[in-house]
Amino acid sequence: MQLRTFPGGVHPHDEKHFSASAPITIAPLPAKVTIHLSQHIGAPSTPVVKVGDEVSKGQLIAEASGFVSLNQHASISGKVTAIDRFPHPCGTSSLAIQITGDGKDEWVDLVDEESFMELPVNEMKERIAAAGICGMGGAGFPTHVKLSPPADKPIDTVILNGVECEPFLTSDYRLMMEHAEDIIKGLKLIMKIVNAKKGVIGIEANKPDAIRLMEKLLKSESNLEVVGLKLRYPQGAEKQLIYAATKRKVPAGGLPMAVGVVVQNVGTAFAVYEAIRYKKPLIERIISITGEGIKKAQNLKARIGTSFAELVELCGGTSMTVGKIISGGPMMGFALPGLEAGMGKGSSGLVLLGEKAARSMEEHNCLRCARCVDVCPMNLLPSTIAAAVKYKNLDMAVKAGLNDCMKCGSCAYVCPAQIRLVQWIDTGKIRYAEAQKEGK
């Protein structure tokens, strides 16, 4: 197979060995869950239950407060015990609904539509919106919005993102190995919804068995194809994946639909399949609990809102003094102050690093070595942006690409002077947003 890729990028050690061979294990029912009202891009959901209410598993507890928003459902049956600020998987704290379980785990009514493929497109979209599905790769964009491109932007290709380029994480890999057929059904549903003729599944070369499995299953499908990709971070970034798979360049500031493409994570495709066939809301997902600090790394199928502390215990606890807790992958994930937060719909992994690996080095003067320039997948000048932000020259930062940066972290990963380029760029983005607000 001819492996494809994109320009720029880096090659971090993939570290998948911790959890790659661990099959998906269903986590026991948590005693409590905290379901955040903001697990997605867009307006926070509005609660439709109050403290003291009894809820069943899968019951709507907060509804979308606009088109670009999301429904949230109870992931266990029990009683609403608080609606308050709780630690968020991004490291902040925000409003969430806490449910204390009754152990019954009773579903609201589900269906099993045999002829789910024949449903009208509108019904399909409604079921996706009702199920509260957002992008499960991490960014969390509401899926029903992404699948509603305007009429003047025809979509010809749907790309499923099975790249999983973040080191350590294996949740998408395990899902592909164990639920490949359902993912393909999800892909076909998405293609039907956006009326695309072609479907592509992008998988990196470090998952050869997943590539082989998908190829085998798609052999007889002329319009579906597996694209093998060279191992390179950040290949799972939307624009980079589109370029690698189709050679199309999404214009700066534009969306994939501008080049006729919709990208969905393989986990999202699986959730779409379950939502359309069973009307099953998104109340659980696969999360990799991994890293050198975990005693027995696993891929758990866990309820949304289960606390990270509980998930770590399920994996036998920690194996060494932990220095850093990362929600997500180590390239773009968030360092958490503790394990209290509950996992969200975008929580693909929890990585525990030992003290040595967590130690950060001192920042030195920029050498102007240009390694950051050479690896930037967006073709920007990261060191120039960082310096401009440091010296409060926002115009210069914007010129050097502040707003084009997607914060993949490739620059900071290779910087020999250990400059915290992403942190500077983030600071710049915040200052820029403030300046825009003041200007208006």
Partner: protein, 366 residues
């Protein structure tokens, strides 16, 4: 578990590179050239190199103490500057030359601007320019003869004229007492050419014979292996290429600058070399890329991080600029060699080049 964890911005992993690993790797990549220099010119090459490197380290440490900033000489950058400065010195130079050069390079070339990352031009080359301006004759004469050959790299004087020494003492002195580039430069002097041809008498174009000889394969081999006269670090194109290959492999230097620099010199000497030379040889471009300081300059000096452009297109412009200036100085200038001044000049142009070669972001049309 404990209750305090490190919370910092992503990414949470880093590759193995750091400043000192980069610098010491460049030092390592430069050592084959030193080994060749010691082989051809004796242990003196090593002594001078160490004097330069150590005095650079001492100077940097003293100034950092005076500036009350952390002493960072362990990072290897001062050692490297001192080493490169010494590599630009004649192995026959007095012992104090590398010391003078290194002190100037570190103090005036680097620390006054705030140290590593802030210097506008390559400190080692600035040190060399200082030495060349202050002691021009010590820098350009008194070359050491290589153990197994002669200064200009010619290995068969009889091929030019069997009795060259008596036929034309001036021509003999030239081919035995000057470096290859100096020989070629001298052959561009029409009055010199006329006078040696007159010495040789009717029918013998002595200048052309010398020129042909110095660009033929046997002489080029001497250039390639380092069996000629020159500065410590210029000795062997082979040894420098070996180190350069290592740096390219380790991703410490990038291909654009060396490729376009050497490529420009090759093309321009191919096109214009014959006009200025006394005769023509297909091998002339090879003579030019293997002689003098081009290999050292293109792989180890022009690629200096701080003083070369950030942008990919900028690096190409910069390298072509270095190549053009080098050829201009070599073919029409007053010096036999132009690598160091070319790089210094393009160093100064770097901010301007960066400004006008800013890349277009992925997906931007403008």
């Amino acid at each position: 578990m404990k209750d305090k964890y490190i919370v910092s911005s992503a990414p949470h992993v880093h590759d193995k590179t750091n400043v000192s690993m980069v610098m010491w790797n460049v030092v390592l990549a430069l050592t084959p050239a030193l080994a060749f220099a010691v082989y051809f010119w004796g242990i003196r090459s090593l002594t001078l190199t160490l004097l330069g490197a150590v005095s650079a380290v001492v100077t940097e440490a003293l100034i950092q103490k005076m500036r009350k900033v952390p002493v960072t000489v362990n990072d290897g950058s001062a050692f490297l500057t001192g080493m490169l400065l010494s590599y630009n010195i004649n192995p026959g130079a007095p012992w104090w030359m590398p010391i003078m050069g290194s002190v100037f390079a570190i103090a005036v070339g680097k620390q006054v601007f705030g140290g590593l990352g802030n210097n506008p031009v390559n400190p080692a080359l600035l040190g060399r320019a200082f030495l060349l301006a202050s002691w021009p004759s010590l820098m350009t004469s008194g070359w050491l003869k290589p153990k197994t050959g002669n200064l200009s790299g010619l290995n068969d004087l009889d091929a030019i004229a069997s009795n060259l020494q008596s036929l034309s003492p001036k021509a003999y002195d030239l081919v035995t007492g000057a470096t290859p580039l100096k020989v070629v430069q001298t052959l561009r002097d029409s009055s010199f050419v006329a006078s040696i041809n007159a010495d040789a008498g009717e029918g013998i174009d002595l200048a052309n014979r010398i020129f042909t000889n110095i660009t033929e394969m046997a002489s080029l081999k001497n250039l390639f292996w380092g069996n000629v006269g020159g500065c410590i670090g210029e000795v062997s194109a082979f040894a420098l290429l070996l180190g350069a290959a290592y740096l390219l492999y380790k991703n410490i230097i990038e291909w654009r600058i060396p490729l376009f620099y050497i490529g420009t010199v090759f093309v321009l000497t191919f096109l214009f070399g014959p006009i200025q030379g006394s005769g023509y040889s297909m091998m002339l471009p090879f003579f030019h890329i293997f002689s003098g300081g081009l290999m050292l300059g293109a792989f180890f000096m022009a690629t200096d991080y701080t003083t070369s452009p950030l942008t990919k297109n900028g690096r190409i412009i910069y390298a072509i600029g270095c190549g053009v200036l080098t050829v201009v100085i070599r073919l029409v200038g007053g010096y036999p060699e132009g690598v160091s001044y070319s790089i210094l000049f393009m160093n100064v142009m770097t901010p301007l080049i960066d400004k006008f070669s800013a890349p277009k972001a992925f997906g931007r049309m403008k």
